[in-house]
Structures are given as C-alpha cells and as structure tokens.
Symmetry: D2
C-alpha cells in the first residue's frame, strides 16, 4: 500500500513557506510517497508543484463543488463540495501530517490529526497551541526545515 | 429565525468545566436561544442538561452512526456518521460559538469557527493559540465566567 | 427519546404533493413526532408548515452554507454546507422515511434509506425502482394517502 | 487536467458484473482516464484490478475510517469516514459515471449523478427508475456492453 503524507498550509502564505512546501513535495516524491493536499493555492500548489517535478503522485481534496479552481499540478482531484469539513478527509487519509505555516484552516487540520491520533503530526513555521499555563500541548513535532519534516513524516514507514 | 449558539467541549472534562457548561446551557435557555452541541458526554451533556432544565431546545449533532450513544437531554439528535467532520456542521449552524475546556476536537471547532469568520468565538478555560512570537491570535474572546461567555455570545442578537 | 421522521421530496413539486406533504406534517406533529427535512421549498416547506401549525418540532438540514435560504417554519436549522451529501444525514437521523413526489435528490434519499436498512421507507406519488425484469425492488411501501404514509411511519414506534 | 471516470457498483455482485467491471477498468486505463471508485470489493475491486493491469490510475474513496479494508489495486486511497455520504464525492469528482449492476448504494450514486447533472450517466445491467406511468426517467444511458459504456463515458472528452 502506498505511503500517503498530507501536507497542509494556507493558500495565502509567505515566500519562505512556499519554498519550504515545494521542497517537501520534492522530497516526498523522491521517497516514493504520495502527497495528499487541499489542491488549492499557496502551500498547496507549492507542494504539488514540487512533487510533480519529480514524478510524484499528488492528490488534491477540494473544498468546493468544481475542479475549475484546482491546482494544475494535481494527479487526481477529489471534489468534496463540503468546504473545510474536507480537512478531516485529508488527515484521515494520511500516514503522517505536515503543516507548513499558520492559518485557521491549517490549525483545524492539525487539531483533527491529533484528535485522530496514531500518526506523526509535524509543524513547520506554524502556530502553537498552549494550555492555560502556557505549556505547548504534546504530540506535535515543531521543526525548522523541510528535511526534518519529511524525515519525521517517513519515520513510521517500514523499510521499502 | 431562532438564535442558535454552539457550545463545544470535551467529553472528558473537569467538574468545573461541567458546572460551567451546565450554567451556560441554563443561561442560553433562559434567553430563548437554541443550543447546538455534539450530543455526547462531558461538556456536551452538561450544557444539554442545563438547557433542558429551563425548557430550552437542544440539538445534538452526533459523530457516529447511531442515536444509541446520544445524551438523554437532547430535543433533536442528528446522526451524521461522519466522525469529527461533524464539527464543521456544528460551527456553521451557529450564530455564536462557545468552547468550554480544551481538547483536540474542541480546538478543531474553534479553528473552523474562526476559519468561517463572522460570528463571535468565545473560550472559557480552553487552550490558547499563539503565533511564532508567542502572541495570541486575534478573534477569540477568552473569558472567565459562563455569564460573560453567554453575554458575548448573545451580543450579536438584535433586540428580541 | 423523541421519534424522528424524515420527510423528503422535491423543491419543485405539484400542488397535490404540497398538500400531501402539509398533511403529513400535521399528522406527525399531532402524533408528537419530530419532523426532519431538507429545510428548503416545495415538499420541504409544506411539511414544515403543516407541522408548525400544530406545534410540532421541525428540523431543516440544509445543503448550502447559509441559513438565509431556509424555510421560515423550521424550529432548528442545520447548515451542513455539503450539498446533496446531506441527504445521508437526513435518512440516518430518522426512525422512518417518507418520500413525497419524485426527483433525483429524493431518489437518492430513498436509496440511502434502503441502503441503511432497518427503518420503514414509504413513497407517496414517487418514482419506482425496478430490476432488469421490471419487478419493483422490495422494501419500499408505496402508498396513496398521507394518512397511510404516517401510519406506516409510526408503526415501529412503541406505545407512547 | 486528467479525465476522471467514476465506476460504481455493488460489493456483492455476479461473475458477469465482475467481468464487465474489469473490462471497463482495462478500457479506461488504455484510454488514459483515471478511475474513481468506492475502493471496496465486487465491482469496485474488479474495475481497480482491470485498470491497474494496464497501468491505470485508480482512486478509492472509502466509506469507513481505515485503509485496512481497501482493495489492493488502488493507486490512492481516500478515507472519508462518512459512510455512504461518500457516494456524493465519487460522483462530483467525475467527468462521467458508469454504474455496473444494481444495489441501493449504487442507485444512490446514479441519483446523485443525475441530481448534479452535466455529466454522462451510464448503467450496465442495473436497476431502472420509472415514473408513476412506468416510463423510464430520462438522462440515463442503459447499455449492454463494457465497450459501449466506456465509449459513452469518454464521448465528452475532447480530442487528446
């Protein structure tokens, strides 16, 4: 069974986030992992472009009811027509979840991934969640580089 | 049109959170607002019990495929069979969103509510979301009492 | 636990279907059953109006992302934002399903109700499903009057 | 953008339906079309096997919350965890819909595809939908062979 990694992040992102997402897509494709993303702009289109540049398989799970707005670099486009509830499908389909950058939609994906449990959840340059005392909640790996994000995402995969 | 307030929170909660949720249910029912919740235990059953004790209308939006596990205090039980993706339905249906306590599911509801925008989002005793610099993200009212939570939730309602 | 009956049917319906739906709403309200419907026009608004005229509880499960287009006779409006996939929620939430009139959306509800199984499925003036040999598929009660539809829908309810 | 064809049908099917589904998968793969299916047994696994035998891309959109039960011939597995409501995602994602054999789940897919409109809907050996007078409803192509089903499904695709 193919190893599927979700890469989440805002459509409205910084250049550094876009570059990191593209690099993550490249590394996942080179490792033979399938990329699952939201199929839109920003982080989503950058990871798709990076993966496609290296022959990777990229699935876009769209929130709206048409394929017209999807990134051109998707191998497969799923039309859910269920808005941000599609975020749950992205994280349930993944063997690991990487978030790049911060947004409310991205945060919902991180939360749903942790709610599901059992898969690595990795954040690069994203928002942090802290409890009442200001302590970060456990179960999220905060990393600084695309390479570290991908290494942790693939750690759960057995030897090929 | 009835004013609908979502009250979110963990099934596994503290006694203080349970008491706060019950009080919020009472206050919403007394104000004539409909309560929308997840229909399960903990905060969900406490807000339902509080609202029902004062004749309020309480809707439970269940994640699983049966009504057997629903709280006994619901006026209406919706069976979504879509797991935590049902959190999106709860927040989209609401004129205001109150979260009591912290959990990953609750956080996903706060995130989806802020992603939607346009409605008050109020947190009582919950987790906090901060950016890279440690600054809390805007758009969430952190409150200390059920009374303040309900006051903010009803602020957007026109005069009855 | 309240007895919940789904009443399905097209927004674009005949006058006879509208009258039948209204009568079904009246009878369900008089019997103390909660009505679950799509919350839109045609059959949906007629059943809602009938039930509300007799003090019944009516839940509308909307396909779109706003409450602005909902029928004015709903007690509760759920905003699913998931288009016709919301039909599954309507039938999963019901102790019995009544379809009035024919449309592709209504047919999907009948099919999903039969796929679920275990609840009465009753069609008044609707389309029929036949196998290759022209034989109607089992498990659907085709009836001629609102009274018969409601009687069959309530048959599974224990004595009050 | 890849041309995506949904192939629907029961997990519990006849040998003839299984053979037809496999042939449809082969023909779609040879034509370069992506197959979208439910990812389970019967018609679903047969179309997946046929497509994979010819190097085709096959997407399975699963109703449950795990990948453990998915067909081994899928290129991509989406975990929706939303039961038969996932049928809507299958038909919304497709440029054409082919149904092989009859079941209530399959009928819901045909109904949702016609409700959506704008794409060919083709039935091979399936149930028929008739109005009160016994006349088949328009908009469905009933065919006798896999070849005819695929020809109609691809008719809307422009020259490659």
């Amino acid at each position: 069974m193919a190893y599927q990694v979700a890469v989440c992040g805002p459509a409205d992102c910084t250049e550094a986030e876009r570059a990191a997402a593209r690099r993550i897509g490249e590394l996942l494709a080179l490792a033979g992992a399938t990329v699952i993303c939201g199929g839109g702009g920003g982080v989503m289109s950058a990871v798709a472009a990076g993966a496609r540049a290296h022959g990777g398989l990229v699935v876009g799970v769209r929130p709206d009811g048409t394929r017209a707005t999807a990134s051109p670099d998707l191998s497969v486009t799923l039309v859910t027509n269920m808005g941000q509830a599609r975020n749950a499908i992205i994280v349930w389909s993944a063997d690991a979840v990487i978030a790049v950058g911060g947004s409310w939609g991205t945060l919902s994906e991180v939360a749903l991934a942790r709610r599901r449990g059992g898969v690595p959840v990795i954040c690069l340059n994203g928002w942090k969640i802290v409890d009442q005392a200001g302590t970060p909640l456990p179960g999220i790996d905060y990393v600084d580089t695309p390479e570290e994000a991908v290494r942790l995402a693939l750690a759960g995969r057995g030897a090929p």
